[in-house]
Symmetry: C2
Subunit: 105 residues, 2 copies
Amino acid sequence: MSERIRFRFAVNVMPKPGILDPQGRAVEGSLVHLGVEGVSEIRVGRRVELAVEAASEAGARATVERLAGELLANPLIEVFAIELLGAVAPASVGTASAAPASAGG
Amino acid sequence: MSERIRFRFAVNVMPKPGILDPQGRAVEGSLVHLGVEGVSEIRVGRRVELAVEAASEAGARATVERLAGELLANPLIEVFAIELLGAVAPASVGTASAAPASAGG
C-alpha cells in the first residue's frame, strides 16, 4: 500500500509580457483617485490554489503542470508559475481542510 | 537627495474560507473531462504584480498595503497576501522594465 500525501500548490497565471492587460490599465487609472504615486507596471492575473493527493511531490507536481497547461492558463497569451505551498502527512489529512489557507491578509 | 529604489511586489487576493467560489467549482467540474484525479479544494483568486518606487522597503510596502486594502481586494469577502518579488537599484532601473516578470512558466 503506497502512502498518499496531500500537497498544496498555487498556480500563478499572468498575462505574457507584451500582451495587452486591460485590468492592469484599469487599476492604474484608479491610482490617481486614490492619490497613490510611484506605482507602475501593474499586471493583473489569476491565482489558483489547490490540493493534490499523490504518492510523491514529483507526481503531484506533474498533475498540477498538466492542469495549469491545459485548463488554468492559455499558453498563447499567459505564462504560469507553480508554487508548492506545503505538504500534509496522511495521518493529519483529515484535519488539514479545517485549517485556513496560507493566503491570509 | 534621497535615493529611490524600485521594488516589485505581488498581491495575492483569494476568496475568504467559507465564501462561495464559483470559478473554483467550475474548474473542479472540468477535472472529470480531463481525467484528472486526486485534486480538490480548488480556489480561484487574483494575482496583481506591480512596481513601486520608494526610498525604503517599508515605504513601498505601505503603499502596496493601502492599494491592496482599498482597491485590489474586497475585505468583506477576500483576503490578500503581499509578496516581495525583488528590488532594483536606481542605476539599473532603466533596464529593469526590459526584463520579463519572474512569473515565467
